[in-house]
Amino acid sequence: MEQFIFYPLSLVCIIFAVGVIINTSPISSAVSLIGMMLGLAGLFVLLNAHLMAILQVLVYAGAIMVLFMFVIMLLNLKGDDEDWKMRGKNVLLASLSGVFVLVVLFMIFGYGFDSEIGKTAALPDTFGTTAAVGQLLFTDFVLPFEVASILLLVAMVGAVVLAKTKLN
């Protein structure tokens, strides 16, 4: 049963991802990216990670991509670039990347993830819920949590400073 959701969903993700890098117009790429993220959120739900799935939609697709859209529209970027052509350099790089994919896949299979780690024990009902993750976040991982908040503060200040128009 699960497979029927998993394979189509992952296919969708991959197609949208390819769409990001193939499209000439940046707006189209951005929209493809949103599609990929939604697909990924679906995969997260399949993995019983409910909180992460919701956060994915809220933060990534909702905030970050909107920011991207704003900037594209602000700078009025058109796809003034050439198409992604089959230039010699590009072929080389693409094939290199393909080789790496194959190597990694081979290594994955070599480790035998099909064996015991693949077998799941029964998951508790509270797995992946907000309460469970939040519990961990405020006890074991409180320091990274606080540091992440300072990081966001700094990024906010930095972004404001960098993007400010110089007043004459």
Binding site: L93, F100, V103, V104, M107
Partner: protein, 654 residues
């Protein structure tokens, strides 16, 4: 008394330091007083030490005063120590005595010179170095003195440093000396290698035991020592610096190039007499080189027109006689001639200095003549010294030269004697030629020059030296047994234990399978026939008189005779140009060295070494040029680099 030894070299050193640093401040008079006073104090100490030495019994007359341990390095230990024994005593007396008289003379001679204090500082420094040379108790101290006198000779020859010829002459003297010094140093190192020590007493005591009579070791050691001696004492082949050294002030020529420095080589050979007596081949070489130089220099002296050059070649010739004496084993005779030569040659040089000073620095004897009436005192002293050098009885030169000639016939061979007697003939001839041309005859003096006799401060030393030249012969009266004062005095230093030498050498030779025929050495002192000696004395006086008569004929009676004889003769031209020896040396040795050095400079240094050092820097530059291309500025290149690195990490980790 004997503990005053260390003061003898120290007084001149102090004088040199005072004059060198504060000479300008204390004024000319005080400079002269400091310089002469220090040497006088040295002389007084030397005389006191002499009395102390006489007080000791004859075979114990050796006193060593250690100042401090100088070098202690593993097996090699050298002390700064002075050794006073009969030989060094003789040298010290000559150096300080004659040196003092020359210092006094210099006060008058150098009166109008600039840098008065510099002259006296160097002169005192020279005295210090020379005293170290003769008083040192080991070869290294002698070498220090050796180098020191060479250095001071350079300073003093180049005293008039604004004259190019003086600077060249000083450099030439130093470099030619250096060749000799190199040989000397090799010999000292070899001595250390064989004996493990370089102290005189230890080396000479161990010599009969460690060295084989006539073996290669001792011949090499003595050969190199003699080569060093030829450099310092201006014998063939290293004599070329001495005539040019006449560029220096005349008292310098008197002190350094007549009485003291050039006799250092003779001192060396006499000091190492036991080593030389064990090397018959070297002795033969010494005798032939000495005799040959005596003859060779005498021939050149006959043709020179500069008053100081004649005396310079005469010095070379007379030192040749000293080496001739050493070479046939007559060490006492050599030292005797050294002493008398110091007296009359210093007197001759100072006399010529007086003439030059009075003639306002004219040195060409063709522009002199008839100076007898202008320089009465100088003339008398000059004449006495010339009679001494010619070997006329009963002046000192007769006794010393005659003893050398006698021994060269008896202990040497007829060729050596022949060279000696011919040299004596020529010596008498050219010395009297000098006297007749300069002092007799009609005056050829330039009308602008007004010659005048020198002041007392210059003539008194002349008179003292002339007296010594006249009566110095009393030191070595031959024939009458026991009256040869010098022989008796030097006996302990020159005594050789033939018994031990023969026994040890025979043993060492037989160990190596060579049969030893050394018994002839045990014959002991031969007593020469008195009749032969008297006959030879008469012969040498006759030869000297012949020379004088010849000079009289050529330069007084028939003044045109020399020109007629020599005009156009190619032999005369060659001799006058010193046999072109300087030019030969220049072509064969100096030019190739200069060219080689230039080649090394341009090719090896500038191209190869500088090139490789610069090349290293250029390699680094090239490397960084290649490396900087990574910084292309393209973000995507950086991203690619990151990906590649990441991939390599993956591969390596798994």
């Amino acid at each position: 008394m004997l503990s005053l030894t260390w003061l003898v070299p120290t007084f001149p050193l102090i004088g040199s330091i005072i004059n060198g640093f504060w000479g300008l401040k204390i004024g000319k008079d005080n400079v002269g007083k400091v310089a002469c006073g220090s040497v006088l104090l040295s002389f007084i100490c030397t005389v006191l030490i002499l009395f102390g030495l006489i007080g000791l019994p004859a075979d114990e007359r050796i006193y060593e005063q250690v100042m401090f341990d100088w070098i202690v390095a593993g097996d090699f230990a050298v002390q700064w120590a002075y050794q006073v024994d009969p030989l060094s005593m003789v040298m010290m007396l000559v150096i300080t005595g004659v040196g003092f008289l020359i210092h006094v003379f210099s006060i008058g001679y150098m009166k109008e010179e600039y840098s008065y204090y510099r002259y006296f500082a160097y002169l005192n420094l020279f005295m210090f170095a020379m005293l170290i040379l003769v008083m040192g108790s080991n070869f290294l101290l002698m070498f220090i003195g050796w180098e020191g006198v060479g250095c001071c000779s350079y300073f003093l020859i180049g005293y008039y440093f604004d004259k190019q010829s003086a600077c060249d002459a000083a450099t030439k003297a130093f470099i030619v000396n250096r060749v000799g010094d190199f040989a000397f140093l090799l010999a000292v190192m070899f001595i250390f290698y064989i004996f493990g020590t370089i102290d005189y007493t230890e080396v000479f005591a161990a010599a009969p035991h460690k060295l084989v009579y006539g073996g290669e070791t001792v011949i090499i050691i003595t050969g190199f020592l003699f080569l060093g001696a030829t450099g310092k004492s201006a014998q063939i082949p290293l004599y070329t610096w001495l005539p040019d050294a006449m560029e220096g002030p005349t008292p310098v020529s008197a002190l350094i190039h007549a009485a003291t420095m050039v006799t250092a080589g003779v001192y060396l050979v006499v000091r190492c007499n036991i080593l030389f007596m064990m090397a018959p081949m070297t002795m033969m070489a010494v005798a032939f080189i000495g005799g040959g130089t005596a003859l060779f220099a005498a021939t050149i002296g006959m043709t020179q027109w500069d008053i100081k050059r004649v005396l310079a070649y005469s010095t070379v010739s007379q030192i040749g006689y000293m080496f001739l004496g050493c070479g046939v084993g007559a060490f006492t005779a050599a030292i005797f001639h050294l002493i008398t030569h110091a007296f009359f040659k210093a007197c001759l040089f100072l006399g010529s200095g007086s003439v030059i000073h009075g003639m306002h620095h004219e040195q060409d004897i063709r522009k002199m003549g008839g100076l007898k009436k202008h320089f009465p005192k100088t003339y008398i002293t000059f004449l006495v010294s010339t009679l001494a050098i010619a070997g006329i009885f009963p002046l000192s030169g007769f006794f010393s030269k005659d003893e050398i000639l006698f021994h060269s016939l008896m202990d040497g061979n007829i060729f050596l004697w022949g060279m000696g007697i011919t040299g004596a003939l020529l010596t008498a001839f050219y010395m009297f030629r000098l006297v007749f041309i300069t002092f007799h005859g009609e005056s050829r003096v330039d009308p602008h020059v007004h010659p005048h006799e020198s002041p007392d401060v210059m003539t008194r030393p002349l008179m003292i030296l002339a007296t010594l030249a006249a009566f110095g012969g009393l030191l070595g009266i031959p024939l009458i047994h026991g009256w040869h004062v010098l022989h008796n005095w030097l006996e302990p230093v020159l005594h050789i234990d033939w018994q031990t030498i023969v026994v040890n050498s025979s043993r060492m030779l037989e160990e190596h399978g060579h049969p030893a025929h050394l018994s002839h050495l045990l014959h002991g002192e031969e007593h020469h026939d008195a009749g032969t000696e008297i006959a030879l004395m008469v012969l040498s006086v006759g030869v000297a008189l012949t020379g004088i008569i010849g000079a009289y004929l050529c330069y007084i009676k028939y003044p045109d005779l020399p020109e007629k004889m020599t005009d156009g003769q190619w032999g005369y031209e060659i001799v006058k140009n010193k046999y072109m020896v300087d030019e030969i040396y220049d072509e064969s040795i100096v030019q190739p060295v200069v060219k080689g050095s230039r080649l090394l400079w341009k090719e090896a240094d500038a191209k190869a070494i500088d090139g490789s050092v610069n090349g290293v820097a250029q390699i680094i530059g090239w490397c960084s040029k290649q490396a900087k291309q990574f910084q292309s500025g393209y973000v995507r290149n950086y991203a690619l680099a990151m990906i590649i690195g990441f991939a390599i990490l993956l591969l390596v980790a798994f």
